[in-house]
Symmetry: C2
Subunit: 191 residues, 2 copies
Amino acid sequence: MLEQFKIHIKKFAEVSDAEFSEIGAYFQPQSVKKKENLLAEGEVCKANYFVVKGILRKFFINEKGVEHTTEFAIENWWMTETFAYLNQSPSEFYIQAVEPAELLVIHRSRYEDLLRNHPLMEKYFRCIYQKAYGATQMRIKFHYEHSREELYHHFRTREPQFLQRVPQYLIASYLGFTPEYLSEIRKKSIS
Amino acid sequence: MLEQFKIHIKKFAEVSDAEFSEIGAYFQPQSVKKKENLLAEGEVCKANYFVVKGILRKFFINEKGVEHTTEFAIENWWMTETFAYLNQSPSEFYIQAVEPAELLVIHRSRYEDLLRNHPLMEKYFRCIYQKAYGATQMRIKFHYEHSREELYHHFRTREPQFLQRVPQYLIASYLGFTPEYLSEIRKKSIS
DNA sequence: CGGTCTCTTGACGGAGTTCAAAGCTAGTGG
DNA sequence: CCACTAGCTTTGAACTCCGTCAAGAGACCG
């Protein structure tokens, strides 16, 4: 479990085995069942999750009671409510397991110690967030550029893994439309 | 000019005057006129811009020839095509001055030297990107949660400065709808 | 097997786009 | 300092994508 994390760190920053064993001590393993919540709306977000295995999603519930999934995290991705994690303010999102998942957790209270004591982790997280920010820009571009139907076809070709692992109604929710409309698109593309 | 940047850095990381004078040497000042392009689609993005004064926007042109503004940057914000800057790949966006602007520029070729020689800048940029990423998550949430009309009213109350400084058709473009529809919304809210 | 999720179907309505044209504003040069 | 032009904003009519509602058909789990 930690081994996989070490490999991931090494993609962005150099780390010796000795230093990694110290770093590893800041993290705790955690298992979650399908549909289990790691964070609920209104709670203070105390943890940042590294996904070793499984899928997490982040969603919120609008005033009509409809869920909107804004993000998925699979193997080797980080998941947290960044804003609430940083400011220790009440979360506007839920975080939930889509599949049973194995996680590494860094608590907010230890995050700054980790960064202070291991400057390579500053670099690591700088790279992670820089990349995540860049990816988000491209995602926003896609939403401006394409119709709902095009978003689905793009998602389908770019992320086929998700179609296998995530139910349709969550994909519709992530792409920003209704399950009914997704069903209509699917019908069209079969015939 | 550098003074303003120093104040900004100090919000996120400690820096002595001696070290800052070394850091400042990595940056170059640049002035741009209104409507001048800093980056065009297809170019490799070689620079990251810190806005000292003025407004920049990032936009792309879709297959029908319509511009979509995806981001504004005002005083004390950073602007670049993050993905193309990191990978030195052709940019999918333009970056342009909305108002005449004063900038500090860090070239891609010196970015990694800066980070290597001044670890506090790792921390600074980690904080900047983490915050930017969190803000983008909230922006995405807003797009899922609200109608176009609501987006406008929210933008209007949250960012009144922009309404003064940015023409309507760019605001419409940023919010993801047509100038015609913005005009209709405005008419409704006056009467 | 029984019940609760999940996916599909179809009718209808409305938010927002498209197109075309006219009115307005601001910058530029003479 | 005015006149001209290009760029920006408004208007209105027709149209379309997609949401809503309601009901039925599968699929999965205990």
